[in-house]
Symmetry: C2
Subunit: 453 residues, 2 copies
């Protein structure tokens, strides 16, 4: 009998799991559920619907509903899985696809994550938004023509990208970040400050080390009360729209109900086959905990790249395959006001948390040879484990070629290279492209010299 | 006694050897000679003095003459080494630094290469140029305001970059390429054709499979007689300026005179310490033959990146060190009319010559996710050795991020990765940067599937 696969969640992870399962096993019976009425769309693209860099909401839909039929995958969208009887391997659902039940041999949780509300008063007002779903984006994008003052609470990737988008549309935008710097989940403070200065110079107002305490106003916001965490000064910043982007948490309730183990990260525990503690039950994407390549500790990465790679493993294994997920490196990039911010592996701060002593190679270089018109400054930082000598992280910031350069460091981490090996890398060179010794090589050289001391 | 190092040639290789020798050994007595009166300048930057992307000729000088004194390196510029008595380890010179002799313990040949004239009649006319030296560039750049019709003989990197520069300045430019396609030293025919179409669409005229036979005119050119090698048709193309860019040959006469062995490539044979067959005598850069990382065959790469890396090894070893050159990968890039052309390792054609059976991953991708405004098509080709499974080459063409992407493939070659390992690489992703599965990954995936057949 053909293997029956049920996938819960039709985001990047779920959709990829379904398609990879189909690629691997032509006969499998595959059903995919999602609470949302939309077929797989790009969550990362949501902020760009505000600025218009994504033209239509529909453009974000990566797998048009009709594709599922052609792949012989039964997509039950707008339909909630209400219960699972794992003993009898049966799920129950209700929604646009009707109410019913269905048996499975393999089950894949790709239930994603949901926003967590910070302890701020007044979050229940109208015109206070989160940005996780396509409907969120549709509602938020309508504010472009109505709002004047936007306060974004949270200076992580989503917060910063959303702030940039509103700023580009001519609105006054203030970022409120609780920590001493923005983007600390991807870069270290001295790198974050470069980004802060760059964004500020473009007119974005950033309040770091600041807690949002209350959203004032009757039905809709009028202002946000914030407190500077250093001097404890309290102030009121005008706001008619508030966006809360303070992080997410894995959605695991259905999994927990059937006895799937949850890890210390609050994600669904998986092994290197992306299988949970229950035989034949898999998890992938933002709901799943897997392991970090460098530290071998558990991690929920929250990254699209990781989600689709985990999903490929989960999907193929759910369909009878036997492949492994190699671990999360965690390469993260974004572009803010033309500045590329790129990071891979561990930051200094994460290394410290895990008690890894590091040797650093921090340099300021240029993207093109000095004699060629149009080069730009680029900041490169590489991090090596002092004891093993291996590269464990890197951060690059510059108005060009920062993100593409981080790709080299990611591969270097995946292949356990030493500073000398990164130094010995033969970068390409042409006056119109870059210089004979790439900034990455110079950074590795700086680290290499420090190892000898 | 301090080691006495004499370096012949103050190009990228010679200058790097001198500086690395100094870095390694503070006490070494270092002397560097060059026939040209200029201190180290960028040869690769020469074509860009025509277009103005390099503003002043002086900008190309990477090591101002006064720097040599501060490094305690005796730079004898405008001075020719006339003879070497290796038995007594003494060199003889004459020129701007006077006439004299000097003893050495270590000798480094960084004598570079010289243009080879193709068998074309009329090459001795005025306004027929080569482009190898700063003086060549100065003379050629003056033609921008005088010439109307420029014929460039040779569609390699230098020829194409020179043609682009003149075209940008509003001149009529025709490229005459003997082989069936331009740039065949770096890309395969199907990739070269993309470049040809792109350049043609910008108004550059390219005659491939065409031999230049004679430059007509009395004192200066009036036309070039060319023959189509396929149909043998002969035609006359108008020219008031001709640039000959048909390749170079290592300069080895001084080395040969003292019994240094020359290899089958016509370059000076070296071992992995960049030492010649004579103890204490080194060679690096365009005059030196070393070995190709993939094929382990001898090669003269002609690349600046390779020159400085070889020179670092030669310089440090000449100063008493003991380091090795890891071999040439041969990453090559350029940008023509906004299109980036990048290549690394072996091409299909080279692999064929060395009888290496290949498995290919050729894909057409996009630089950004489909929903994001502003992405561009990118063509990626990866080549794997069918028997060992290892990656041996790659070519990428696109109007953005082609060169930076080739860097990943170069590292993959240096670390002997398989198609599966390249596929498992975790590329970075953000809507404004690139998609979740990088085109390189898709290319490796295509190859990986072919391996299984």
């Amino acid at each position: 009998m053909a293997v029956r696969i049920v996938i819960i969640g039709c985001g990047a992870a779920g959709a990829t799991a379904a398609m990879q399962a189909r690629k691997f096993n032509r006969k499998a019976e595959i059903t995919i559920f999602d609470i949302e009425p939309y077929s797989q769309y790009s969550r990362c693209g949501l902020p760009y619907t505000i600025s218009g860099k994504v033209k239509e909401f529909e453009d974000l839909v990566l797998t048009p509903p009709e594709n599922w039929a052609s792949l012989k995958i039964d997509a039950k969208l707008g339909t909630k899985v209400t219960n699972i009887d794992h003993e009898n391997r049966e799920i129950f659902y209700t929604g646009d696809a009707g109410t019913g039940s269905m048996e499975y041999d393999s089950l894949v949780f790709a239930t994603g994550a949901k926003n967590i509300d910070p302890p701020i008063k007044g979050l229940d007002k109208r015109r206070v938004y989160r940005l996780r779903t396509l409907d969120d984006a549709k509602a938020l994008a309508q504010e472009v023509d109505k709002a004047k003052n936007v306060v974004v609470i949270g200076g992580g990737l989503i917060g910063m990208e959303t702030a940039e988008a509103f700023h580009e549309r001519g609105l006054n935008v203030i970022i409120v970040e609780f920590l001493p710097n923005i983007l600390l989940a991807m870069v270290d403070p001295e790198m974050a400050r470069i980004v802060e200065e760059h964004c500020s110079s473009h007119g974005l107002k950033i309040l770091t080390n600041t807690s949002a305490q209350e959203i004032l106003g009757d039905v809709t916001p009028t202002a946000v009360i914030v407190q500077n965490r250093e001097n404890e000064e309290i102030s009121e910043i005008p706001a008619d729209v508030v966006v809360v982007a303070t992080g997410v948490r894995p959605v695991t309730d259905l999994a927990e109900n059937i006895g799937v183990q949850i890890g210390s990260t609050r994600g669904i525990m998986t092994d290197n086959h992306m299988m949970t503690n229950l035989e034949g039950v898999y998890a992938c994407g933002d709901c799943a905990e897997s392991f970090d390549f460098v530290t071998r500790r558990t991690i929920v990465s929250g990254l699209g790249t990781v989600a689709v790679r985990q999903a490929r493993v989960a999907g193929i294994n759910a369909a009878g395959g036997d492949i492994k997920f190699p671990g999360v490196i965690g390469a993260k990039v974004t572009k803010l006001f033309g500045l590329e911010i790129a990071s891979t592996g561990l930051t200094d701060q994460l290394a410290k948390r895990y008690e890894i002593e590091v040797v650093r190679g921090s340099i300021k270089g240029t993207t093109k040879p000095p004699y060629f018109q149009g080069g730009h400054e680029i900041k490169v930082k590489t991090l090596f484990d002092k004891h093993t000598g291996r590269i464990i992280g890197g951060q690059i910031i510059g108005v060009e070629d920062a993100a593409m350069r981080i790709n080299v460091l990611t591969l270097a981490i995946q292949k356990d290279l030493s500073a000398l090996e990164v130094f010995d890398w033969e970068n390409c060179y042409a006056p119109a492209i870059c210089d004979t010794w790439d900034p990455i090589v110079l950074s590795a050289d700086a680290a290499r010299r420090r190892f000898r001391k």
